[in-house]
Symmetry: C2
Subunit: 422 residues, 2 copies
């Protein structure tokens, strides 16, 4: 491709998996970079499902200001999905359908913005060119609050939930500290992270030293040890006067059961998912007799664009921009990843990495990031985590006191094919 | 008192009840106003208990910068308490002790910063002068996230939790909207408010119109109607594709039971307090079969200084300043209250109101603020609520990405009395 010729064809962008506070910043990076090159961008509504359904959005109908506002708008502006393509052998019809849709709309580049599963989907699509004779370049674009993608130093979306978690832990702890004499002594925050404790670890940035909150962090990487947990809570309350606990939703007991499922039953006798905090609170009350409170921010933590990290928002935009550059340069089956070149001062750059090294892998916390007792983070963890929450990414508020989040028009592209019957 | 003479004696300030994101802004208003008049300020550690225990803090040991930083620091800087004084007849010894402590430290003005119960305590202390022959002026200073104090148009602390709730509801709803096609269809946020639905109502500011979130608000002022709730959730999901519900922790069924206590049992068979959201979620799953998520921000909502309302932060400071002015002017048994003089543009002023009209009363939401079906707020409610979340109150962040919250030295005043044995 010559650099002074307008590239031929369209670029398709789609969002996948759980959304984040900054995934739309990536979308802004993609669309602004493509517009600068004169390449039209379609977006698939609800991720890969939009491609299968030929449910496409024409982003050229959006104003420059609307695309710029994506940079500070949480959620997934084009809709996302949880849907994993099967292998080519197992469901060839789906891949043929994708090729049909790509061909009908002259899609030459496909950018899939997601986590592990989405990298797998992107990798499969990147192989379609050879397998099925349609020339398509596919770039995976990283995104996940779980921070568990391989190769990349960190994942866009994580820095902001990390900042939210650290700040919220600090703020709620100031509240608990002032009331502990006559009220709550133990406060438990449950955070996301079913398999990896990155978000819980980030709460550790709220304070440093044995007396600073959070006093205990519970990681899915460690088996929950009830006796050790209770002993440390008790010692903390006796020494400090109160205790803040941050628990990953994914902690398990020695039998491998999720704590969230092991105890509590709802009104219908079903095990109550997504609630390890109340289980821990009941334990504290039963065994130690302390007054407790617990919080479960759930989606609030991953959508809190109002408290985004500047590092994270910048990186989210940068991977979108880089993905377009890689695609237009003819690269295929790669992902723009974040490479850390210095801890302090923090410096990073974007480089391409093969999707084959990323798809379906999962990066857990290194053992060296957890303290010996398993309830805290080490200096090495702080060195890694600290830069990711640095900087604020302020957003415009309207007169009514709410953030000015944009709602796109999301104009549908006219369909050219028959509906897809799976 | 002549205006050009330095007043004689000390002022004692104490924080009471659940703390807020802006109660320390009131403390800053008190201390800065008193310093300007040359009046020394002691603070009682942990509210009225500090006065009973002669556990006093000398605020003159704090720098000007530290006091100024209170204006953006959440929690209760001097500690708070949940402790209600009995009547003079029932526990005369406590009142005698207070007089002893006041006399020993030349306390001539007592400012008690809290809600209904604290206004009652302040009122009782204001009557000590006549009853027990010690000249003390007592001013109640308003504070409560519950917004349920009588007389005042609104309560410092409420505007910020209202803003947090509206913004969080909006952000999480953008998340849910983008995932609804293949994931969560119903999202439930549980907010504070055991008796009055002010905080839940504030979530209604997140959007306007039948299709905008929150689609249902559940108020403690209305009996929970399971059939109507399920029908509206179902209709919303069928029309919009997803549904956001905001529920007050205090909603009750027709039998008068808290929903949070009526259903769920924890691992030990105890009823699970503070969790109406999981009960509603289980109901949605059981009766409608929709995938759900729920959030319970708990203390996060009332300590979120990072998202404070400017209106609220300004009012919190103003009531502290006014309380000092009233006290030094010789007023007694009053509270500086917020008087709304205009809705749009929003204008307010501070006036003194008798504590006797405030103590132990509770302001519920007017019926005219709830829509006919009981699941939303009316235009009248919007007119009242909207100004309270207006404006942002930015705070300084350190290089590490955390807010720069101040920790005071809280230097103890030397004790002059024997310990108080109740």
């Amino acid at each position: 491709m010559k650099s002074n010729t307008k590239p031929h064809g369209r670029l398709l962008y789609a969002q996948s998996g759980g959304v984040t506070a900054v995934i739309n910043a990536t979308a802004a990076g993609v669309i602004e970079a493509a517009r600068a090159k004169g390449v039209p961008v379609f977006a698939a509504r609800n991720g890969i499902l939009g491609a299968l359904r030929e449910d496409l959005i024409d982003t050229s109908k959006e104003t420059k200001a609307a695309i710029a506002a994506l940079r500070h708008t949480p959620g997934g502006a084009f809709g996302s999905c949880r849907y994993k393509l099967k292998s080519l052998d197992a469901n060839r019809a789906e891949y043929e359908r994708l090729i049909d849709v790509f061909r009908a709309h002259d899609i030459r580049w496909f950018l899939y913005n997601g986590g592990n599963d989405s990298a797998d989907t992107a990798l499969k699509i990147s192989q379609l060119g050879k397998a099925m004779g349609y020339d398509i370049r596919c770039i995976g674009v990283p995104k996940t609050v779980d921070n568990d993608l391989a190769v990349t130093d960190c994942c866009p979306g994580f820095g902001s939930v990390a900042k939210y978690t650290a700040v919220s832990t600090l703020e709620a702890s100031l509240d608990v500290a002032s009331m502990a004499d006559t009220s709550t002594k133990v406060f438990i925050v449950e955070v996301m992270g079913r398999h990896a404790g990155w978000i819980a670890a980030a709460a550790g940035l709220a304070g440093e030293g044995a007396d600073a909150p959070p006093h205990l962090i519970l990681f899915p990487e460690r088996v929950f040890d009830e006796a050790a947990f209770l002993a440390k809570v008790k010692a903390t309350v006796e020494r400090v006067g109160w205790c803040t606990v941050v628990a990953s939703e994914g902690i398990r007991n020695a039998e491998g059961q999720f704590l969230a499922e092991a105890g509590t039953r709802d009104a219908f006798g079903h095990s109550q998912l997504g609630g390890v905090a109340p289980v821990l609170a009941a334990l504290v009350k039963e065994k130690l007799g302390y007054k407790y409170h617990w919080a479960l921010p759930d989606y609030l933590q991953r959508s809190a664009r109002h408290l985004a990290s500047k590092t994270d928002a910048d990186q989210a935009y940068a991977v979108g921009k880089a993905a377009v550059e890689y695609a237009l340069a003819g690269m295929n089956a790669v992902m723009p990843v974040i490479v850390r070149t210095s801890d302090a001062p923090y410096r990073w750059k974007i480089d391409p990495a093969p999707l084959a090294k990323i798809a379906n892998r999962e990066k857990k916390m290194p053992a060296s990031f957890l303290t010996r007792d398993g309830f805290g983070i080490t200096a090495a963890a702080r060195r890694y985590l600290a830069p990711l929450i640095q900087g604020e990414a302020p957003l415009p508020y309207s007169k009514n006191g709410l953030p000015q989040y944009v709602a796109l028009k999301n104009t549908a592209v006219a369909r050219k094919l028959e509906p897809f019957a799976r």
